[in-house]
Subunit: 315 residues, 3 copies
C-alpha cells in the first residue's frame, strides 16, 4: 500500500492496512535505535514543533528524540510560559508556529478534538499526542507493535484492558486498533470506570478480574489517573489495588505466556505490583523503546516517506 495521510489524528479513521504500514515502518526504525549512530537524515532541515498544552514529560521526550534521530530541528512550546497564557487562542498560537515554517505540529491538549481542529486550520502536518479522554494514537500503535513483536500476530488474540477505561484515551485508541486488526478485547475495572457502553465498540465488559485475566494473551494495565478524575470513582487506592491490582496471585491464574503491558508511569502497589512489573512477562520497558520507533515511523510517513522494506540507510 501507499501512505497518503498528512496527519495522524486518531486510530478510529485508520484502515487496518494503514495501521500495519506504521508497524512495518517502525520495525525498520527500531533497528536504527540499536546502532551506534542512531540517526537518519530523513527530516533534515524540517521543523518539528512540540506543542504540549497539557504537560507530559514522557511522551514529549519520546517525540523529541524521534525528531532528533530523524535529524529535524525542534521547537519546544509548552503552555506554562507562553502566549497562550496571555489569552491567545490555540488557533492563533498554531498559525503563528506555522508561519515560522513549521512542518510538523505535535500537539497534546486537554480538549478532545484539539488535533482535528488544528488539522483543519493548518497546512502543517498535525500529530495527536493525546487529546483529552479521546485518543492517543501513537500509544496504541506502539502497543500493537509490541504485541506483534511478542506474539507474531494480532488477529485472534485475547487482549484484556484493565483499569480506568472511562477516562483513558489509551484505552480508546487501543480498542479501535485491536478490533480493526481482529483481536478480541475484554475491558475490566470498577463499574464506575468501565461503563457498559463500551460494548458498542465491540468489546466484552466484565467486572470480575479473574474472568478478565483467565484466557488473556495480553493484559494491558491502565494507569489510575488521579489528575483526570473529577470525582472519586472508587473508595481508595488500597481498595483498588485489592480488587483490581495485578499481583503475583492473580498472575498465577493467567496463561503461562501472558504478556503484561502498561503505558507508564506505573503506580507500584496500585494497579501493578513490583514483582509483576519487573517480572519476565512484563514488556513495559520494551514498550518505551518501541514507542520511539513508532513515532519515528509516523513522522517519516506523514512526511511522505516510503514504507521501507529494510532498515533506512545511515546519515
Amino acid at each position: 500500500m501507499t501512505w497518503t495521510r498528512r496527519h495522524l489524528l486518531d486510530i478510529e479513521s485508520l484502515s487496518s492496512d494503514e495501521i500495519l504500514a506504521v508497524l512495518d515502518t517502525a520495525r525498520a526504525f527500531k533497528a536504527v535505535g540499536e546502532r551506534t549512530i542512531k540517526k537518519v537524515p530523513a527530516l533534515r532541515g524540517k521543523t518539528v514543533v512540540l506543542l504540549f498544552v497539557e504537560p507530559s514529560t514522557r511522551t514529549r521526550i519520546s517525540f523529541e528524540l524521534a525528531s532528533q534521530r530523524l535529524s529535524a530541528d525542534i521547537i519546544n512550546f509548552s503552555a506554562e510560559v507562553s502566549s497562550l497564557r496571555k489569552g491567545e487562542t490555540l488557533k492563533d498560537t498554531a498559525r503563528n508556529l506555522e508561519a515560522l515554517n513549521a512542518d510538523f505540529i505535535i500537539i497534546r491538549h486537554r480538549a478532545a478534538g484539539a488535533s482535528h481542529f488544528l488539522a483543519r486550520v493548518l497546512n502543517a502536518s498535525v500529530i495527536n499526542a493525546g487529546d483529552g479522554a479521546h485518543e492517543h494514537p501513537t500509544q496504541a500503535l506502539l502497543d500493537l507493535f509490541t504485541i506483534r513483536e511478542k506474539k507474531s500476530k494480532i488477529a485472534g488474540l485475547n487482549v484484556t484492558i484493565l483499569g480506568d477505561v472511562l477516562y483513558s484515551r489509551v484505552a480508546r485508541s487501543n480498542i479501535w486498533a485491536l478490533t480493526k486488526l481482529g483481536a478480541r478485547v475484554t475491558l475490566c475495572g470498577p463499574p464506575t470506570l468501565v461503563p457498559r457502553v463500551f460494548e458498542q465498540m465491540g468489546c466484552r465488559v466484565t467486572y470480575r478480574v479473574e474472568e478478565a485475566i483467565a484466557g488473556a494473551d495480553i493484559i494491558n494495565l491502565l494507569r489510575i489517573q488521579h489528575e483526570r478524575q473529577r470525582q472519586t470513582m472508587f473508595p481508595s487506592l488500597a481498595e483498588y489495588a485489592d480488587l483490581f491490582g495485578l499481583n503475583k496471585d492473580r498472575l498465577a491464574r493467567a496463561k503461562p505466556d501472558v504478556t503484561i503491558m502498561h503505558p507508564g508511569p506505573i503506580n507500584r502497589g496500585v494497579e501493578i505490583d513490583s514483582d509483576v512489573a519487573d517480572g519476565d512477562r512484563s514488556v513495559i520497558l520494551e514498550q518505551v523503546t518501541n514507542g520511539l520507533a513508532v513515532r519515528m515511523a509516523v513522522l517519516f510517513l506523514v512526511n511522505g516517506g516510503i514504507i521501507p522494506q529494510e532498515a533506512p540507510g545511515n546519515s
Copy 2:
C-alpha cells in the same frame, strides 16, 4: 556597503543604509525558509545563548529557529530557574556564559539599556531582543521588511501606529526606523498612552482615530500590554475597543489598499476585531514569517557575513 557592527542594540544608532542592508539580507534568507531543507551552515559550530530574563515565547522561538536554521548550537537560559535567582548579577551571568565560548548573546530584559550594558562588558556579539520600554530592533526591522514587501518602498508612505505607544519598545524602534527611511509617522491612542513628547521624534500625534486611519498606507496596531502598565491608563478594555479598536467600520474609512500590521499576540476584540485580523489586508502572519528571515539576517551579519546578492547556498 559593508556591515561592520558586532552587535545589534537598537535602531536609533543605525544608518538608513544599515537598515536596508538587513532588509536585503533578510530577503535572501526568506527564500531559505521556503525550501524543503530550511538550513544553511553559516553559524555551524557557533554558540548562541538565548538570555531571556523577561519571558517571551514568540520572540524566543523566532530567534531559536533562526539560530537552528543557521546551524548554530543553542543554549536556552531563562531567568526563572537560574543563578540570576540566586542573586547573581546580570554582568556575572553574562560573563559566565561568555566564558563558555558563547559567540552570541540574545537578551530580553525588563531594564532599558540592558543589551547596551552587556555589549560594553562582553566580547560576544549582543543582540537586543527587547529591553524594557526602550527598543526592540528586530521587530522594527521585520515590520519594515514587511512594509517594503507589500508596498515596494518605504519613503513617502503614511504609517500610523495605533495604541499603547508610551510603553511600547516596538513603537519606539519603528519610529526610528520609519523616519530614517523617509516614511511619515502618525501616532494615535488615548492621550495617557500617546504623550505629545513623541512629536519631538518627528511624528504627528493625534487622538482622533478617524484622522489617524484616513490616508494611512500602513496601520501598525500595538498590543495593549496589561503586564507592563503600572497603573490603569484607560477605563476598560471594552472602552478601549470602542474608542480605538480597529473594526470593519473603521477600516471602511481607510485607503482601499491599506496594510494592517500587529506584532502579536493579538487581543481579538480589543485592539483588533477578528474580521480585520483575519481579513485580506492583514499581514500579521507574514510578519511572523519575515521575523524569522530578519533574525537570520541579523545573526548572519553580526557574525561577519557578506550581504548576499541572492539566496545563500544550501548546507
Copy 3:
C-alpha cells in the same frame, strides 16, 4: 594508561593516573573551544540525558554545551515538570530513559549516592553532576585542570579551601583529588561549617583565616549555600564577610602569586569582594571555560575514547 570506566561517579574511587588522564584529555578539548567551529563528531548519533532532579542552570548548561560540541543529541529532563512529580521512582524514571536508548545519563540529585544507585541499575553511562553534599567530581576535575594550567603542577602546592566545607560536595571532591595528586590541603571557615573530622581526610583544619591564607598557592572559596543549610550556622552574611570574606586587605597577606578560585555563582561582598573577584589573581571565569573542556573530556572517555596526544580533528 588506558581509560576503562563507563561511569564517572566520584573522585574518591579514581586513581591519580585516571585523574591525570582526564586532565590531559581536557587539554585537547580546550583547544576545540578556541576554534571557529567548536564541534567534533565524537558522540554523533549518541543520546545524552540531562537528568537534573536538583535544578542547576550553570552545571546543566556546561554539560549541555559539552554534549553539543561532541555532536550528541540531548534530552533535558528536569524534575519540576516530570513523571517524578507523579510519584514515579528515580529508578523507574532512569530505566525509562535508558529504554529510549539513552547512552549517557548525567544526574544531579539531592540525595548522596544517587548516581552510584543509577550506575548499578542501568547499562547507560552515568555521570555524577552533584549528589547532595557528597561529590561533584567534574567540578574538582576542572579545578585541578585550572590549577595545573596556572602552576604547571599540583604535587607540593598549598591549597586552601575556605568557607562552607561541611555542606560542600565541591570541597569533598576537591579534597580527594588534591590529596591523591600530592597537594597539601588546608580547610578554613566557621567551626560549625568546618568540623575537625575532615582531618581524617588528610587535611589541615584551621579557624584562623590569616593562617589559612598565608603560604597558600591556591585559595578556593566556597559559595555560602543558604539553600542547603537547614539551620543557621553563622550569625549573618555581614559577619561571615567580616570574619572570612576574601577582601583586598586579606589578599595583601597572601603570596604575591596566589591564585583565587570559586566554583560560582559568587556572592559579591560575602565570601569574596568585587575587587578580588575581578582582580588579576582570580581565575573564576577561566574555571568556567575549563569546566566545558573537562566535561567534554569525561563524556569522550566514558564513551570509550582514546586519550588524545593532541587536539581532536574537526568534524
